[in-house]
Symmetry: C2
Subunit: 276 residues, 2 copies
Amino acid sequence: MSSNKSTYAPGYVPSQITHHEWRTVENSAAYLLPTLRALSSKSDTSPLLLDIGCGSGTITRSLASHLPNGKVIGTDISDEILSRAKELCHGTDNVTLKLANVYSLPFEDGKFDVVHASMVLGHLDNPVAAYREMLRVTKPNGGIVANREPDLSICTYYPRSKPMDEFHALQLKVMGEGAVIGPKMVHLAMEAGAKREDITPSFGTWCYASPEERKIWGGAFLERLREGNLGKTALEKGYATKEEIEGMIKAWEKWSESEDGVYGCMLGEILIKKGM
Amino acid sequence: MSSNKSTYAPGYVPSQITHHEWRTVENSAAYLLPTLRALSSKSDTSPLLLDIGCGSGTITRSLASHLPNGKVIGTDISDEILSRAKELCHGTDNVTLKLANVYSLPFEDGKFDVVHASMVLGHLDNPVAAYREMLRVTKPNGGIVANREPDLSICTYYPRSKPMDEFHALQLKVMGEGAVIGPKMVHLAMEAGAKREDITPSFGTWCYASPEERKIWGGAFLERLREGNLGKTALEKGYATKEEIEGMIKAWEKWSESEDGVYGCMLGEILIKKGM
């Protein structure tokens, strides 16, 4: 699997990181809460959870708080972001962080009760290979693979503006197929060998509307346009002119300051129960 | 307000009704659960809830089950659908059903602890007038208006097909602005006099993926194309040819039978806390 590309294309700009660090189980993995509750209610076992592509580790830390009787291992392909995760998880005793690639996880077969990934497979060239590897390290007979990925073709917002519509079209162009993986996850999991009846799909949402949320979300996109890979790629590939990008930045600024501003996006989610 | 149009444009075809009757608080008004829990925990009061545009009444019945110490009044503008609601609510002692128009509700000011409407305002010409009337009959000092409405521009599905994409474009054309009201609800509620800090927006989702769900959802759209107002209006207004509609029907049939078929849509939600 060494031919599979493993990079994080969006890059790390400060506001994107602020958005990442806003994430918790409650706002980004609520579909996994019943599983976590069931595992933490068993006082005689110590459940083991793997969080793949953990980034700055706020979901990892939050997962660990829901499994006080268990252990959580967070992995990422970036040393840089793992340093930040180490800072943020400092003091959370049941978290370990580790450099690892989802295509070849350094763990034995059937090790984990839960293998979780949030907004990871959409960035990969081969999500089916990733599901196979995630399933490999999941406990047989009821272990759970949990995954949440975007469908960026269906974000919605108010007040509307032409440059923000153009921004969304640009984002889809730059991110390619992975940006719309959400509703396809059942299909991909089946390709990776999961039986349909063992897969439970759902959809979750993010909503940004308070002044703080508008600043975080607007700020993340502003900087991805200004300094991050989104703006760079758009210019290099001729998807947008400098003036068009400036127009999008202004539109995001204006939206961030709109008292009636609301932004919503929908994320595909699946739980896969591993069989025998 | 008598100039405000009050009709239910989609009409009632059997499968559309089947889809409506699948609805409960859990799958269609979960954002209201914390409010219902708080109200039902007060043993010394009997909370009063109004469910506007209750249709066949399955959400109404479900709301009543969450307020065993309270009373729920369901209203609709259609005698026909209220008869069905009476059948389905039979045996639920704390539900009353009543013919009423959202623009001029037959209730005194400040009567209700909660005023709820699901997928109603998107069908109206004047949602701001509806919010004003809903706020009028809500208790001052903390009564709640709860509302969930669609944004049909951002449905997602798999496997993709050209006729299903065309179906979604057609649906938006026929339904007009109301079809995308979801992210605009904060703005509309503010126009109706609510303060921004008293409005809590969120987004909910519907996911259809199991064989039963695919049959219900696919079936509802099949029949709206075949016998309901969607197909009729599309033909009358020249939005689609008979052949194109046949193509969409076949595509929905095929999707319904796809084992890896997933359909998701996102709904705008708001809770408005009434002030003094």
